[in-house]
Subunit: 100 residues, 2 copies
């Protein structure tokens, strides 16, 4: 892996390297129609709404989730390529799990 790839990959991993954001990705993926609004997601955490909003922004800026406003609600959806990212994370999880 050359320097360029490392510097592209690192910010992506950084965006994923937080338990709240990992669960957000997972919750969105498993939600009905594979999309969810903030009011669906916030109750899953013992965090304030602005904090959840902040994490969603980080995921959005990393290109992992998309936003769409429909009426009062803003729906979050996984970016198409994020599914493959989640697959890779499953492999990681399995690898970690296998050593426990």
């Amino acid at each position: 892996m050359d320097r360029g790839r490392a510097e592209v990959l690192a910010p992506l991993l950084k965006a994923l390297a937080d338990p709240v954001r990992l669960r957000l990705m997972s919750l969105i993926a498993c939600h009905t129609s594979a999309e969810a609004c903030v009011c669906d997601l916030t109750p899953a955490f013992e965090l304030s709404q602005p904090t959840v909003s902040h994490h969603l922004k980080v995921l959005h800026e990393a290109g992992l989730v998309e936003r769409e406003r429909r009426g009062v609600w803003i729906y979050y959806r996984l970016h198409p390529r994020a599914s493959r990212v989640l697959d890779a994370l499953s492999d990681l999880d399995a690898t970690v799990g296998a050593s426990r």
Copy 2:
């Protein structure tokens, strides 16, 4: 992904979410016998030796690399499960690359 898995996976991703550490992993993997000492790795970066040592420590504490002293040198080797981690990273890299 439940809370437990997220909190196990996040620190692992955190350890990987740094361009220097990604390149360290890659350099070790591609080196002769798949192991390398610090004096092999340091010249690849414009960083001080203690800084490289610090990053190796982070990787070691995350369970991604192993250490072995042989004489004056300390050789670093990828932990067996780290190969699968690198595979997953390749998928990530390909996914990111495909969208450019």
